[in-house]
């Protein structure tokens, strides 16, 4: 029996991507809420909650992105090269957004004067919107088959400025904001700040509806723009995942309405993950137009060594990550206001 190393690698990569969307995405979403929190005084407690929730974990959450990039160039090097070279404009912009977000967040934490906190806060919040948007446009370009194999063979602008990409960008920003609102509701609840709880609950509900509408619109756009993917999603093997995503999304709205703040974390994550895996399954095994996984995968020795190393690493990582989240989910809670 041969072990399907390439498939396992792809699945691990997709798991990493899911983790990045669910954890890193929520950190970006926190920045979105920071952006719309209002004036310095009015939004102070809301910003403090965001800062308090993200502070200890955002670096670990961010590593998922590096994990995905590295696995791409290790497991499917030619696809990585094709995507990076054709998509270099949105990826450069996303990279700059990542610099702005991380640095400004850390700077704001240690600055004391109002003007500094405002300046760094604005940079943090603005790049929290820009980064997921540009990463989303890249995903849209891939989903609609706009990245051909080879180096810089695709349209440098049209590959990410097109209906699917724009929709995917919008979807990325709103789902990040949605996830963040859901997580923050619970954090505020634990901290006993009932006005913040209500605020984030309302935002989560509103945002959840927007994400649902955008996803529906997305299906229409996909139908026109990427018919093959559309067919797979709506009638092929990806259909169950799509159904799961829709059901989890609807359940989240109900749970939010009924103030079940812990359970809604799970369903909200499932809704977003379902969408992501639906896309993956619908597109598999085609990675780029005319390029299937078995053609693009690295040699077996590389895949085996890397997967083996990751398996050993996971023995260290899983308990550590668990401990990190557990440490900051209990004990001293809520922002000092």
């Amino acid at each position: 029996m041969t072990v399907p190393l390439a498939e396992i690698m792809l699945a691990v990569l997709w798991l990493g991507l899911t983790a990045y969307v669910l954890f890193g995405g929520a950190d970006f979403g926190g920045g979105v809420w920071d952006l719309v929190a209002g004036g310095a005084e009015a939004g102070r407690r809301q910003r403090a909650l965001v800062e308090h929730s993200i502070g200890p974990i955002w670096e670990a959450d961010h590593v998922w992105l590096i994990f995905v990039i590295v696995l791409m160039w290790t497991g499917i090097p030619s696809v990585f090269a094709a995507v990076a070279s054709t998509m270099y404009i949105p990826l450069t912009l996303a990279a700059l957004g990542i610099i702005g977000r991380g640095a400004a967040f850390a700077f704001r934490k240690v600055s004391t004067e109002l003007w500094q906190r405002r300046l760094f806060g604005a940079a943090f919040a603005f790049s929290s919107v820009a980064t997921p948007f540009f990463l989303g446009t890249v995903a849209g370009g891939l989903a609609s088959g706009r990245v051909p194999p080879g180096i810089a063979e695709g349209d440098l602008v049209g590959s990410w400025l097109n209906p699917t990409s724009l929709l995917a960008g919008a979807l990325a920003v709103t789902s990040a904001a949605y996830l963040a609102a859901v997580y923050l509701t619970r954090d505020a609840h634990r901290g006993g700040a009932s006005d913040l709880v209500d605020g984030f609950r309302r935002r989560a509900l509103g945002c959840g509806i927007v994400v649902g509408l955008l996803s529906a619109a997305g299906l229409i756009v996909l139908r026109l723009d990427a018919p093959v993917l559309f067919t797979e999603l709506t009638s092929g093997r990806a259909l169950p995942l799509l159904v799961l995503s829709v059901a989890a999304g609807l359940a989240s709205l109900v749970l939010l309405w009924r103030r079940a703040y812990l359970a809604v974390r799970v369903t909200a994550a499932l809704a977003v993950a379902g969408l992501l895996w639906g896309w993956g399954v619908a597109q598999y095994p085609v990675l780029l137009p005319g390029v299937t996984l078995d053609r693009a995968a690295a040699t077996d020795s590389v895949l085996a060594a890397t997967l083996g190393a990751l398996a050993v690493g996971a023995l260290l990582l899983v308990p550590s990550l668990w401990w990190l989240y557990a440490t900051f989910q209990r004990g001293e809670a809520g922002p000092r206001s």
Binding site: P56, H62, I66, W73, G75, R295, A298, T299, L317, S320
Partner: protein, 454 residues
């Protein structure tokens, strides 16, 4: 597997890509060194504070931890940019050889996770954990920092000494990822790099307190702030000089063209002198001080050993000699100067159990951080520019690896502006951190808990 079709990039775009890579690497490496060295030095301070109950040590540890919070954040984002740039700028390299160097990067990813996780706990749970447990949470940060430096440099070592793969017609057909990772250049390069990280962190941290002492703040807090990191750096320095010699011998054996560029040797010959200073004009090193037999001796341990000259390779295969030669001079110069400083401290300590009394010692210590960073950057210039025109030595040319998409120049302009702003903001914030919430005149009166870490 696919063979990426290569289209030539415009020369301006190639130059922009190289400068952008050098800028972002050169920036990241400084923060990365602090990220490797600072946690260890901070832990020593925390441990001393715990053992002796000396409040100054505990204050220092807290102060350093705050700075670490900022430095790790900028280290993480600047490192992320690098992983993007590997693909954005060098798809020709990554599309073909990405899988060959993928393993160390995957291992590095694990190390980054460990680092980020334990850093979160170390910084944010300081007052929630008992002192001993808190100290222990710092240990994985140190180990993971050293490990990530090791892993990433093995990838660079492979670019200097590519082994562990077989290629056919521009396609990689077989890989032994462990052999690629543990290539012959790995031992000297990784050792040299990790020691450099401790030197940079130690001297740079000491510099801050040397400046404060020059301004008259000579209390115990500032003396310890100078002494502890400076001692760490001073212990590492002599070892580093030895390892540098090992690295140089390795280059002499395996990259003779780079050695010739480092020393400005144009004609192959025996009993070659060591050249100090000088500039290359018209294929000749001028105005240099020559130490007879020096190079043959240092490179091969034999005063009569043969050294290959640049004349043996076509002009197109030579690296820019002046840059490499001066990079090497600067690194060695700074290294020897720092050795002098370390010896000064060691002598004074052996004699009087005290810092040297001279103001010149403080002045030299104040400059030592700068000298260590200069040596670091110069060393990387030697390694990377000396490898040119190859991106993978003897296997792939840099010009064949670059992204052929037009407009890389504009990306470079944008990235430079962002880095300029990032540099200004980082320096400003760190200076603020050093200045605000001044240490109380008599720290005993208020315990360290008044100083929140984050």
């Amino acid at each position: 597997m696919l063979t990426p079709a290569l289209i030539a990039a415009a020369p301006a775009d190639l130059a922009a890509a190289r400068t952008q890579m050098a800028l972002s690497l050169g920036w990241h490496i400084i923060v990365a060194c602090l990220g490797v060295g600072m946690p260890a030095i901070t832990l020593i301070a925390e441990w001393r504070g715990h053992r002796t109950g000396d409040v100054h040590y505990r204050l220092l540890a807290r102060r350093w931890a705050r700075a670490m919070g900022v430095l790790f954040a900028v280290g993480a984002v600047s490192g992320t940019i690098l992983s993007f740039e590997m693909g954005l700028l060098w798809p020709g390299l990554m599309g073909v050889y990405g899988e060959v160097i993928g393993l160390p990067f995957a291992l590095e990813g694990i190390a980054f996770f460990i680092e980020a996780i334990f850093l979160g706990v170390y910084l944010y749970a300081w007052d929630r954990l008992p002192p001993r447990a808190h100290l222990l949470t710092g240990v994985p940060i140190v180990l993971a920092g050293v490990a990530s430096a090791f892993f990433v440099v093995t990838a660079n070592a492979w670019m200097q000494h590519p082994t562990g793969f077989a290629a056919e017609g521009g396609r990689v057909v077989a890989v032994n990822p462990w052999a690629a990772m543990f290539n012959p250049a790995t031992p000297p390069q990784t050792t040299h790099m990790i020691l450099a990280a401790f030197m940079v962190a130690g001297f740079a941290m000491a510099s801050v307190y040397a400046v404060a002492m020059l301004r008259g703040r000579r209390d115990r807090y500032h003396r310890l702030g100078l002494l502890l990191p400076l001692t760490v750096a001073a212990v590492v320095t002599p070892v580093q000089i030895g390892v540098g010699d090992w690295a140089a011998r390795f280059v002499a054996e395996n990259q003779p063209v780079k050695l010739a560029a480092m020393e400005g040797v144009f004609e192959t010959g025996r009993a070659v002198p060591l050249h100090v200073g000088g500039v290359v004009i018209d294929d000749e090193l001028r105005y240099a001080l020559a130490i007879p037999y020096g190079l043959s001796l240092l490179a091969h341990g034999n005063p009569d050993a043969e050294i290959m000259g640049l004349d043996e390779v076509p002009r197109a295969d030579r690296p820019p000699v002046n840059v490499v030669h001066w990079g090497f001079q600067i690194m060695v110069g700074c290294g020897l100067a720092l050795l002098g400083l370390a010896a000064w401290l060691g002598l004074a300590w052996a004699r009087r159990r005290d810092l040297p009394r001279s103001r010149w010692f403080l002045r030299a210590s104040a400059l030592s951080g700068l000298a260590a960073v200069l040596a670091l950057e110069a060393g990387w210039v030697v390694t990377e520019v000396g490898r040119q025109p190859w991106i993978v030595y003897g296997v792939q040319r840099t010009a064949d690896a670059v992204n052929p998409a037009p407009g890389l120049v504009w990306g470079f302009v944008l990235v430079s502006v962002v880095y300029a702003v990032l540099t200004a903001a980082t320096v400003y914030v760190l200076r603020r951190l050093a200045r605000d919430e001044p240490v109380p005149v008599a720290p005993q009166e208020r315990d360290v808990t008044g100083y929140r870490v984050v």
